[in-house]
Amino acid sequence: MKKIIFTFLLLGIMSSVFAQNKFTLSGYLKDAKSGETLIGATVYVKELSTGTISNVYGFYSISLDPGDYTITYSYVSYTNVEKIISLTENIKMDIELAEISTELTEIVVTGEAEDENISSVQMSVNKLDIQTIQKMPALFGEVDIIRSIQLLPGVSTVGEGATGFNVRGGGVGQNLVLLDEAPVYNSSHLFGFFSIFNPDAVKDVKLLRGGIPAQYGGRLSSILDVRMKEGNNKQFAASGGVGAIFSRLTLEAPIVKDKASFILAGRRSYIDVLAKPFLGEDLKNSKFNFYDLTAKANWNINDNNRIYLSGYLGRDVFNADNVFASDWGNATTSFRWNHLFNDRLFSNVTVFYSNYDYRLAFGEGEDTFDWKSRIINYSVKPELTFYANPKNVITFGGQATLYEFDPGKAVGQSAGEVTNIALDKKYALEGALYLGNEQTVTNWLSLSYGLRFSYFNYMGEGNAYSFGESETTAGRKPVTGAEVFNQWESIETYQNFEPRFAFNLRLNPSSSIKLGYNRMAQYIHLVSNTVASTPLDIWTPSTNNIRPTLLDQISLGFFKNFKDNMYEFSVETYYKDYQDVVGYIDNADLLLNEFIEGDLLRGDGRAYGVEFYLKKAKGKFNGWISYTLARTEERFDGINRDEWYAARFDQTHNLNVVAFYDLNKRWSFSANFVIVSGTPATFPTARFEFQGIEGVPQNSEERRNNYRIPVYHRLDLSATLQGKRVKKNGKTRKNEDYLVFSLYNAYNRRNPFSINFQNNPNNQSQTQAVRLSVVGSFIPSVSYNFKF
């Protein structure tokens, strides 16, 4: 595979080198009103039936033989712009597209982008535009990106209260969540109820779950690429909302018109403020909130240079009367520099910093306990895109990331006596080099292929432990030695070639077959032994004892559009083969454990499934249905009698129905219905007693995940009322506002988060099964949103 891809790459580069006597049309595509660059907008050359799309910075470039051309610029829900050009030299043309105003949504927009699902070589991609997300019913009326994405095929969660999301059976830690290219280590506020992204500040969201191109790596299952807005560079704008849980405010304005702008977006929840009157005296000083702040600025220095600076800070805070305190959150900063070497060679360098940490403190006076844990990384990522010719877009680049893991530092005080517990910090360096090409071979065949080389160095300073054999097959491995390493001294290195390949075979104008293969390597692991992922889960590097996990995934899909792209249909199948999956011994001890490696196991994993998706993209009544039939399994020596078993994220059936109905200019309605098979769990089959302690559960057959919790289903409804756009005196209002009424869990189902087995608190000799439903009733809410 490696060799084949390398040959292809060479051919692609050669063909572009020999393509002479061409001129280049290039520039940026922007929103006419805000000046925001448009990602993935289409540039179509009528005469040649070919085209390109704008990149993540809104830049496009296409090289053609000299001649006269009709160029159509289009973007979904924007009016097309058509230009007739005479290409006798290189032309730079920035184009502004105007958004179709909301009153006109009934009008059918035709643009080449409408059949992108068929024409693009990328498969297994979930894209949601922010307008769609805003119309979906949401918990507490708060629109949320990740919760919306969970309604698309292949994406799921193990339930309310679980941090993060799962893609095609992968763990939460297998998703690379990028916020303006900086990785975010915990994508959730409040245990997954809300994602950390302020929807008002989000420009574009894309989730790749298969056929992943070479520029992405480091995680196995998916890439969630979130791009924040750059800020309106034409005029001041504000938007925001007031809801039941939190309020939002976004401000954006030009610093220098058309040259530089900024955006500032903040949210804060106020459950604690609202709850205060209902709390007893002793809890009056409790804090219970979360907030996030996004700040960005960009500057177009000249035609060839732009810089962007973005920062994000988000935290969840709990504090009970200063006796107990806990908080966690991400902070990221990224600096990006776009540079055009020439009309065909676009470059971007990103330098970023990302930090995730949590803290918990307990006690008062002479008896306290304070614990902190964090992961920090610093990274630099240069990338070049070479628009060789209309048939080849070559991307090459690299990335170097320095990690610092601080698994735990605690200070305890007992009756005034202080003790320090600090686990060793761990350091690692991850590097990657990649080369990829998107090649249009003919009208009916396009390819995307690339090769990524990744390298990981687990290094000092610190102790490298060695472990002996455990007494039982999957038992705790005893520490047999420790070796001290100096700063930067390499303890263990790993490297992998990661080939990527995808093709799109266009059967006819309305249908195509796509195939994608990718190998991914993941060098850092999110270890979690709880039923659902939590904010306290710890990231740990691959070490001399823990190997990186490798994944080979192959996906095959059929895509068809009907009735002039009114309906989109796709069916995709995938098979994922994992090597060196990280698992846990029974009763693993993962928090504040210096010898955590002794509690981890190495095993195999596999996942396969088929995903159906039918979308009605147009009309007053639109929406989609997605259904996934899947299986995810793992196997570890000494666990489950050495046999394969269903993994925690295994969901056999997963059906989502999302429907929107626009009644008139002011009222629109939406509903979504979800039904998912219960996830696997281990239940006891027997009990025993000892020394007066009763009802100790025992799984006599030593099976893992031998049962499933009951099926999950839920219906949510919402109605949106647009504010009047015309004042009484007949003038159009400058402001836009709307109210969202929503009802989450409409028919009041108690969906189980988990089933726990306990003794009856009033009679220890009686055992019982307790269902925990995190959302125990329906939740109505209203939110008010504005924009001016």
Partner: protein
């Protein structure tokens, strides 16, 4: 440490769950009955009197009837000095008893290692445990506290005991309220040196607060389940036993505690707790449940007065 984490989880989970109108309810679930396994309940001490080993069989998880008896077994314990103690089930109730020949004879001696051998249904199981040193109890005190963080007003007790120098000492602090052993999962109070876990670096000091205060049970009011009763009231009798245990027994108890208190957002998957019994026939896949412990015991007792 671990317990702090559990407490943390509890508090955070509680706040969140309260905010989201979550609920817990008891449901019916059909579970397969596992193959019955021999359950050996043996924990000898350095206290005078008889020592008892209870042999039972496991029963299906929701079976609330008494455990089936395991009869006709042979049970003996040998100490590291070569003394052998025979346990007999004279009245066929599954309780195998050793009685001292002379009233002064004590089985458990500090520093000695005890090995139990149980033969049942053609299989022989062995386990060993050593009697380790205990801490010195300084005092068992109580005080009246006002309502705080949802804890009701009432009397709260603390056990002041100092862990001896040298790390690796483990203890099981067993509390009796009015003569009744507090046997719920949340009442399991264990210490590694003076703290919660190995590497805790709290050696040779007083037990840390959560352990000192881990002898205060909360029960809900039988009349009103929304009301939590204070741990102690005037007139209550309180007895605390500190068992010295081996490190492995510490982990066993920690696992039991985790399993019995599992729940909430931070619930962990159900797993079998460890056992130190080993089947002497390596080719047999028969396993037993239970843990053989040997402890020295120190006690303190008090009655709550005004």
């Amino acid at each position: 440490m671990k317990n702090i984490i559990y407490i943390h989880r509890f508090v955070v989970g509680f706040l969140l769950l309260w905010a989201l109108s979550s609920c817990e309810d008891i449901i019916d679930i059909n579970l397969d009955a596992g193959t019955p396994q021999l359950s050996i309940d043996a924990w000898i001490t350095d206290q005078p009197g008889t020592q008892t080993v209870k042999l039972r069989l496991t029963r299906s998880y929701f079976d609330n009837s008494p455990a089936p008896l395991a009869l006709n077994a042979t049970v003996e314990i040998e100490d590291s000095e070569g003394n052998i103690y025979q346990f007999l089930d004279a009245d066929n109730d599954g309780d195998y008893v050793w009685m001292s020949a002379q009233s002064t004879e004590i089985m458990g001696v500090l520093g000695r290692t005890y090995t139990i051998t149980v033969s049942y249904n053609g299989e022989t199981y062995k386990a060993s445990s050593q009697i380790n040193r205990t801490p010195r109890i300084d005092s068992l005190v109580y005080e009246f506290r006002e309502e705080r963080l949802g804890n009701p007003a009432g009397y709260y007790a603390e056990i002041y005991a100092r862990d001896p120098q040298g790390s690796g000492d483990c203890y099981w602090i067993r509390t009796y309220k009015n003569g009744k052993f507090l046997n719920r999962g949340q009442d399991i109070n264990i210490a590694y040196d003076a703290g919660f876990s190995a590497g805790g670096n709290v050696d040779g000091v007083y037990f840390i607060t959560p352990i000192r205060e881990g002898i205060n049970p909360f029960f809900e009011d039988p009349e009103d389940s929304n009301v939590t009763l204070p741990p102690y009231s005037i007139g209550d009798d309180l007895e605390v036993e500190i068992y010295s245990i081996q490190e492995d027994a510490f982990y066993f108890l920690q696992e039991v505690s985790t399993q019995l208190t599992n729940g909430g957002l931070f619930a962990v998957p159900l797993t079998n707790v460890r056992t130190n019994y080993v089947n002497q026939n390596p080719n047999s896949d028969k396993k037993v449940v239970g843990y053989f412990g040997a402890s020295a015991v120190v006690t303190a007792e008090t009655t709550v007065e005004e």
